[in-house]
């Protein structure tokens, strides 16, 4: 560095070091009840996420799709098969720290960094209650959150044994570069349905008006 930059002051690091890790490093002191959380929720969150965190208006529903059995197992059954239409936040998240960290840093979406730590605990408690992870009289704080981690429905749902983190990782799919007489006679299995032809707007207006191709006029049927 040679004298470039300067030491950060402790207050500066405190001001910006707001992340919370799965091992709860970074978790601030504080606490909040489900009851208080409902107040925060109704005032600051419900307009976007719905009264019960179920709204699909601005984002995927936050809760839903998890069962008591999932909570016991730590794996959300609805993630296999086609049972549940959408994957809610609670169906996926394996680390409760993630929710605390994110709500504190980014929510409410249009006014991030405005929640107090206590209100973050409270509104997370309420959200967990909406998802049946904690009872209505629950008080979330820096200690009780550890127990919550052990009840998260999908806490055992993550897998890091794959080749996609390390640049030298081993690929899971091994294709072969066949050059001729490869595979079966091709058969088209999926196309865009006719009704969707113009769903992305008139493609004639999304391509250059000269060159080797034009954009298809999708206001008219194909081949017209």
């Amino acid at each position: 560095g040679e004298g470039v930059g300067r030491p950060a002051t402790p207050a500066e690091v405190r001001a910006w070091d707001i992340d919370v890790r799965p091992d709860f490093q970074g978790l601030p002191r504080g606490s909040g009840s489900v009851l208080r959380g409902q107040e925060v929720w109704d005032a600051k969150c419900a307009s976007c996420h719905g009264t019960f965190g179920e709204s699909n208006e601005v984002f995927t529903p936050l809760v839903g799709g998890t069962t008591a059995e999932d909570q016991a197992r730590g794996r959300v059954a609805a993630l296999t098969g086609n049972g549940h239409p959408q994957r809610t936040t609670l169906m996926k998240v394996a680390t409760v720290s993630t929710l605390f960290d994110y709500i504190r840093r980014a929510m409410p979406w249009d006014a991030p960094r405005t929640l107090t730590d206590d209100d973050t605990y409270a509104v997370l408690a309420y959200l967990l209650n909406l998802g049946d992870v904690v009872p209505s009289d629950f008080v979330l704080d820096q200690d009780s959150i550890r127990a919550v981690q052990q009840r998260l429905p999908n806490r055992n749902g993550m897998n890091r044994a794959h080749g996609l983190w390390d640049v030298k990782g081993r690929p899971d799919v091994r294709a072969i570069a066949c050059m001729k007489d490869c595979g079966p006679e091709p058969r088209v299995a999926s196309t865009l349905p006719d009704f969707a032809r113009n769903a992305h707007g008139n493609l004639a207006e999304q391509n250059r008006t000269f060159g080797p191709v034009r954009g298809a006029d999708t206001t008219r049927p194909a081949g017209a």
Binding site: E12, R105, P112, V167, Q206
Partner: protein, 396 residues
């Protein structure tokens, strides 16, 4: 070429004088910062209707169907914001490096730009690129299938230079967290081997400063790794001994496998390619000569070869590659073709210098199912109909 229109003597566009040939044009510096011709207005970055519910947590796609070479014009660079984009004041922007370091430090833009910097051409691809196509054909054009992809020359200081400057703990420091200054405070974990390799803290993009939509004045450049890790409006780097499981690495950018488990920290963009002309939603102007051209890239290194098939994968021909072929950068490929007016199924297949071969949709689905959203690097098929229309199809 079409027969000359108008008088048999020839084409009026030649025989008649055009206004640009008979008038005085506009002066230099009429525009201190220039713009494309008005005739290029069709090529815009666009949203895919219905993909997201709010447009400040959304994507705009680059119009790959109309681009040339490997450099993406910064004005058409794809966008992915989680809480909208911001015009950050560079005089008030700071970068803090702390955590498992000897001295936590703060850098102004003045400081950073006094450090040794490098310039490198790299692609950036969103991990969710082609994500709508896992189960079936969902969108019509290459802009929407593959347009979360861009390639630029980035300039900045190596992250390793900053980590060294702060005296990071080589024994315990195994991960770094990168955090943005926007409302989402975007956070992503980068493993220390990546961080010390080719990661940049960049301010320059294609010769000028980053655009506001791409993180002005500072973004992390993580070559080969999905776009979400290229944290924009970068303000903080923390060195730690564990990954952070931030929202966008614990709830999103996790790949759902058929067993109901998510792969977490999937990051590398494996080798992939796509034909950009002719491509879905285009119509061939006429039979005869036509270049089949497209882009190939690999998050693991250089593109070694690209093969093109005109018969849906039955037979393949190696395409020409434009130079330079650079590591973790787009590579432009082309194959000369004579379209005879018959139906055709166009595909391209990238091979990178690790020997990895871009897989078919079928192979990929056999391992990963159809619900993983991210990292769909399957071979793309475009069908050419006898009427010249090209459309997006998937083979059985």
């Amino acid at each position: 070429a079409p027969a000359p229109r108008g008088a048999p003597a020839g084409d009026p566009a030649i025989l008649e004088r055009q206004p640009w040939n008979t008038s005085l044009g506009k002066p230099v510096a009429a525009r201190g910062y220039g713009l494309p011709s008005p005739y290029e207005a069709n090529l815009q970055r666009r949203e895919s209707p219905g993909l997201t519910r709010v447009n400040a947590a959304s994507v705009s796609f680059a119009p790959l169907q109309g681009l040339f070479g490997i450099i993406t014009p910064s004005g058409l660079h794809f966008e992915r914001h989680h809480q909208g984009w911001q015009d950050v004041d560079p005089a008030k922007h700071r970068l803090m490096v702390h955590g498992l370091v000897r001295t936590a430090k703060v850098y102004t833009m003045d400081d950073l730009m006094r450090l040794p910097s490098v310039s490198r051409i790299h692609f950036i691809e969103c991990g969710a690129n082609t994500g709508m196509e896992w189960g079936n054909v969902a969108v019509p054009t290459v802009q929407y299938t593959h347009g979360m992809l861009s390639c630029s020359e980035f300039t900045g200081v190596r992250l390793s230079t900053l980590l060294d400057d702060c005296g990071f703990d080589r024994a315990k420091g195994r991960y770094v967290l990168a955090e943005g200054a926007d409302g989402s405070g975007m956070t992503r974990t980068v493993a220390i081997d990546r961080a010390l390799d080719d990661v940049l803290v960049a301010w320059g993009q294609n010769g000028e400063m980053l655009r506001p939509e791409n993180g002005y004045p500072l973004r992390l450049v993580v070559p080969g790794v999905q776009g979400v890790s290229w944290v924009k409006w970068l303000r903080r780097i923390e060195v730690g001994d564990q990954p952070w499981a931030a929202k966008d690495e614990a709830i999103h950018y996790v790949d759902l496998m058929p067993d109901g488990r998510h792969r977490q920290y999937t990051s590398i963009q494996e080798a992939k390619s796509v034909i950009t002309t002719p491509s879905g939603g285009q119509v061939l102007v006429q039979q005869g000569a036509c270049e089949v051209t497209g882009l190939a890239w690999s998050g693991r290194g250089k593109i070694k070869r690209v093969d093109v098939s005109l018969d849906g994968g039955r037979s393949w021909t190696p395409a020409r590659l434009e130079t330079p072929v650079l590591s973790k950068a787009l590579t432009r490929f082309s194959l000369s073709w004579r379209w005879d007016g018959r139906a055709a199924l166009l595909q391209s297949r990238a091979v990178d210098d690790t020997g990895y071969v871009q897989p078919t949709t079928r192979l990929l689905r056999e391992v990963r199912g159809t619900k993983s959203i991210y990292h769909n690097n399957a071979i793309q098929t475009w069908r050419v109909d006898p009427n010249g229309e090209v459309s997006n199809v998937q083979l059985a």
